[in-house]
Symmetry: none
């Protein structure tokens, strides 16, 4: 895939045309028995259907068939990066989401404040979702510790979530998580995956021990869990690859972080669908690529709330004329993965995708749905192919070869 990006870089050209990538997080679903229809199939969505009917549709695999992607690989694939080659750690993504300026060599970990009982067993991995204010206060208690010459910077993210950045010499990120991802057990000891990482694991374990002491009287947030130790990778940026001036409109920190990582300008925005669309309108003249992220469908799917996911899709559909009136040259609507309410989590099922442009070759798909997209003109495609298709339809790719 690195090779594929090199190819795109070679043939991409800047043009005044504009591309709109609308990502409805967790878009794909599964049919419920009552109706035999998925969330997307149940939703009333005249505007999405109009785009599907006049555009070209398909089903995409974010990583490959059978693989359930996390949000990071799901989005990297949509931006055109092979998500297996470019594996970005959770710590880095969280740090970027709060605009934290990671230096070369920094190791970032995603942290949770959590609750442990007297035996040290985790009873709540999220410490009852403490407020962001409380989180900020607790982070101040932990911030600035020095262990073996390593400075540890702690910053709040949202609710129970924070980042811990380990800054100093000779740190490598190949260590395991302390987060056991379940309750009723003690947090894990951070262990080195190779001999070079032993310094990192030692420092992490000492930090965790000190945090436990500091937090002892702050029940329910009386312990921390760390995961996703990682270093900022060096990715070719979207402006380099595609010659685009890309902007991201996303309410959630993690997606803002991801967008920044690939070189997008992250716009200030409210997090509701309407607010995001307003942000788009205000900034429309200044960029030629917009990544607009809708979180609600995924959250509803994760909660197993089929009807709420339907309503989020309907809300997007209602707001869609605001995009259409701007007349972008290419509109892509898809998701970063499926999140069927039935499974209450991300899944491996392929994701509906529609591409609408003056230059697409329409198919016979009449509505935007999983079952209709099976028969679409884009066929079944790896999600990494969506960006080249969007670029081509915006006439931003020149001929390859003589």
């Amino acid at each position: 895939m690195v090779d594929k990006l090199d190819l795109i870089k070679e043939i991409s050209i800047p043009t005044p045309t504009k591309i709109m990538l609308l990502v409805i997080d967790g878009l794909g679903g599964l049919p419920i028995t009552r109706t035999g229809k998925t969330e997307l199939e149940v939703a009333t969505k005249p505007n999405l259907n109009h785009l599907a009917k006049n555009g070209v549709c398909g089903l995409s695999d974010p990583v490959s068939p059978g693989i359930t992607p996390g949000s990071t690989p799901g989005h990297l694939a949509l931006f055109g990066y092979d998500p297996v080659s470019f594996n970005v750690g959770r710590g880095v993504v969280e740090a970027m989401g709060i605009d934290f300026d990671l230096e070369r060599g920094d190791i970032a970990a995603r942290g949770n404040f959590c609750t442990v009982d007297e035996a040290g067993l985790v009873t709540d991995r999220r410490a009852g979702r403490i407020s962001t204010e409380k989180c900020t206060e607790l982070c101040r208690l932990l911030d600035g510790l020095g262990i073996e010459g390593i400075k540890i910077i702690v910053r709040p993210v949202k609710e129970h979530r924070f980042i811990a950045v380990f800054r100093g010499k000779e740190l490598v990120p190949e260590v395991s998580d302390s987060d056991p991802q379940q309750v009723g057990v003690v947090p894990r000891v951070v262990t080195a995956r190779n001999p070079q990482a032993e310094r990192m694991s030692a420092v992490a374990n000492r930090f965790i021990a000190q945090a436990k002491t500091v937090l002892a009287k702050h029940h329910p947030a009386n312990m921390v869990l760390l995961r996703g130790f990682s270093r900022r990778p060096s990715l070719p940026t979207m402006p380099e690859i595609y010659k685009l001036k890309p902007a991201a409109i996303a309410g959630y920190p993690m997606y803002r972080g991801l967008a920044r990582l690939v070189g997008m300008q992250v716009l200030e925005t409210g997090a509701s669908i309407k607010e995001e669309f307003v942000t788009l309108k205000h900034n429309y003249n200044d960029y030629d690529f917009f990544f607009l992220h809708i979180k609600g469908a995924d959250s509803a799917g994760e909660d197993g709330d089929f009807d709420r996911k339907v309503r989020v899709i309907e809300e997007v559909d209602d707001a869609l004329p605001a995009i259409l009136s701007l007349k972008p040259d290419v509109i892509v609507v898809t998701g970063d993965h499926s999140t069927p309410a039935l499974l209450k989590g991300h899944s491996w099922h392929p994701v509906p995708v529609l591409l609408y442009s003056k230059w697409c070759r329409p198919d016979r798909v009449e509505e935007f749905s999983e079952s209709a997209c099976i028969l679409g003109g884009l066929g079944r495609l790896p999600a990494t192919q969506i960006m080249p298709l969007a670029m081509a339809n915006a006439l931003k790719l020149t001929k390859f070869g003589a």
Copy 2:
């Protein structure tokens, strides 16, 4: 693909769910003019249609479009191994099929007893399919020869088929076959494909010459043909990759050998469809993955017997309720390649595949046939993706990436 297996290994988890992989060898066909229908389309198969209607279907390419696979690459792909990276020689597969314990460095070749005329031209590549008893007797005559410090072990397989194992120092398998794969010509001289293989070719040619002398009075089995010189490869096993406890139910030695090579437990079984299904039932509680191999459809296709292939498919369909009553979590029905009766041999045509599970996203396919599968929700997929899909549907794969 090696990387893809590493990825699967990283995210696979053991669970109590069970996967059933039913391989109807040579399943795919071509339509005959009379009806315009393939073998599968002509067959009466209510149970397969039921699974197709409630599952998800597609067409798979064992190697890649246009490539006609042998049985080994066809099966390796179904087990999730890229059949081009993991090329297993025929000699090795035959040796494993009869439980022969290949040592490191051994070179195994598949042998046929054949008939040659006075001019030395091959008149029957299978020596009139001599009995297994006769084969055993002749193998004893050839077994144990020593040539240039190399010991040659000869073992019967079935009918005219045997294996010759060359054991000794400095042997490499890069030599050509002596089997000309046609009649009316002399057997080929075994030639080295690189300088290191010259010792192997010299020993093989001397063995063949000695065999001709020994067999002179044993018409019709008065000569041998060797092919598929190969050394046992080191493959990651299915238990390692998938954390499965896999069992194989196959009547034919070669498929038993292949299954053993990838780490399956090979169960004792009768070779008829009914007997194989009984074996499944008796062992159902002890494993979480079953590879059940039906040979008859391929044999009928190879013989150009359209109607017999139809009957084999119908026989499988009749027996299918025995599988359904066990309620495996995932059922996959497919073939290792197509064997259209019209072509009297393996072919490159993609193979119908159906996957049935509680968690699959059904499509609009109503029957299990080549023409219906074109429109299926699995689309057109490489056969190596079938195992990840089966694993995902059995909820045996965790999320990739944060």
